[in-house]
Symmetry: C2
Subunit: 272 residues, 2 copies
């Protein structure tokens, strides 16, 4: 479980890092804008996932800003080797989460950014340029959708009485070991569940449009922004399969959102 | 199966109706804009679904335009009695499909409009005001996303080799009779499937960002625009459970999208 948000980094410094993180969005959005009319090259990576020159350019632009602003900090991305891998501060960049959606013209892709200090999450941000939505949070600083403060518990009243769950797609549960029984149990218990597979699903939960999500066997950069975003909305974030988000390679699974619904999702997981 | 798109309505008239349908969007979007800052009242309907004053106002505004423009035509909506129910021409209005998403601040809701002549679909339109996307089609006139012509077959190459399926949520398959085995079979056969429950899923398929969808046990106004939209992109639309979209009350199920993927979804359905 990621339940440690205690940090000895002063509030003023956290505010500074949150501002710096939000400023990165100006840069990433300008790259998106530049390619929105010109089109871009698409290639397949060795794992059959898609990479565009937009991914590469956003990551290298953000890296350059961070290298100059915080020369002692580490930076991890998807497309280049780790920078300062032993530093206490580690920025994590996913330039385009949902590249396939981006290529297909779906507006639900996003840029994910986060900052960790000694493996404790300080800052988390998800930006959806096509939706004009940025959600961001800093430890102890609150969570925001653009400029509006987010509060999962207060926003819950607008929903149907039936909890609204999102889960990763069934294919995720089949990665490595076959955990599809957990997927099947979730959609049986929550037949109103949506299934979706990128950070738009995270945004849906964090902004209160769904109650909770199970993310399953994804990479660290896919969920790096989540713990602090969820915690700062008053929600609960529970790592599943005893894999806490850290800097190790591997796959990450978590249930997050409205606490009592998360508890139920964890309970179903514990039954396997 | 809805495979009858033959009509004796002249092409010029179809063009005129398509223009009229697109003009309705100016009206519905202006109602959305007006409420976007002021907020709106939300109430629960007897079936526990949500209704806002925005739904009601869009429908009544569109009805008024149609009553004056085409006094002999019929109009069916969600929130008022049928107008001229015996007329050959029937407009169908769903002012907000995905009202719960609209209320939650998710941008994936949409307005659905269509025109039928003697139960044959002539015009179909889905508008997503928050996404700035309108897809529209007229029989024999092509399908468009805003001003760009859509072609499902030509756009297919951009995807992963694994077909990308969308299905209605499992709860739909449990309405009335328990057809959940079909849902389970779909997500087993296509583990990359997304599950989503309003017209945004339709748009995803019609614009080629997913290959095919199974929509299940929904109302006529939910799918009224689909047959002509799908047909005009070069896709295939197959009614499941022998329920052709018509003007009768009831529930409607369909597989639609890229023809060979649709065939496979129909084959799975036939096996039950």
């Amino acid at each position: 479980m990621i339940d440690n948000f205690l940090t000895d980094i002063p509030l003023d410094d956290r505010s500074k890092y949150l501002s710096a993180c939000r400023d990165l969005v100006t840069c990433s959005r300008s790259v998106f804008s530049r390619y929105s009319n010109s089109g871009f090259k698409v290639q397949k990576k060795s794992d059959q996932s898609i990479l565009t020159e937009v991914d590469t350019e956003i990551e290298s632009s953000l890296r350059n800003i961070l290298y100059h602003a915080f020369p002692e900090h580490g930076v991890r991305g998807e497309e280049a080797p780790d920078h300062n891998p032993d530093a206490d501060f580690q920025w994590v960049i996913d330039p385009i989460d949902g590249t396939e959606q981006y290529v297909s013209g779906m507006p639900t892709y996003g840029t994910i950014l986060s900052l960790y200090y000694k493996n404790i999450p300080l800052i988390g941000l998800i930006d959806h340029p096509a939706l004009h939505i940025t959600i961001s949070a800093g430890a102890g600083l609150g969570a925001f959708c653009n400029d509006s403060r987010l509060d999962l518990i207060a926003s819950k009243g607008t929903h149907n009485s039936e909890p609204r769950i999102v889960t990763a797609k069934r294919a995720n549960f089949l990665r490595g070991t076959d955990d599809s029984a957990y997927f099947d149990a979730i959609v049986r218990r929550f037949p109103y569940a949506w299934v979706f597979d990128n950070c738009y699903a995270h945004t849906v939960v964090i902004t209160g449009a769904a109650d909770a999500m199970v993310e399953y066997k994804v990479k660290f950069h896919d969920i790096s922004a989540l713990p602090v975003l969820v915690n700062e909305t008053g929600g609960k974030y529970v790592s599943l399969r005893d894999k806490a988000p850290g800097h190790a390679a591997g796959s990450y699974s978590a249930a997050f959102g409205v606490p009592d619904v998360v508890d139920e999702l964890v309970e179903i997981n514990d039954s396997f």
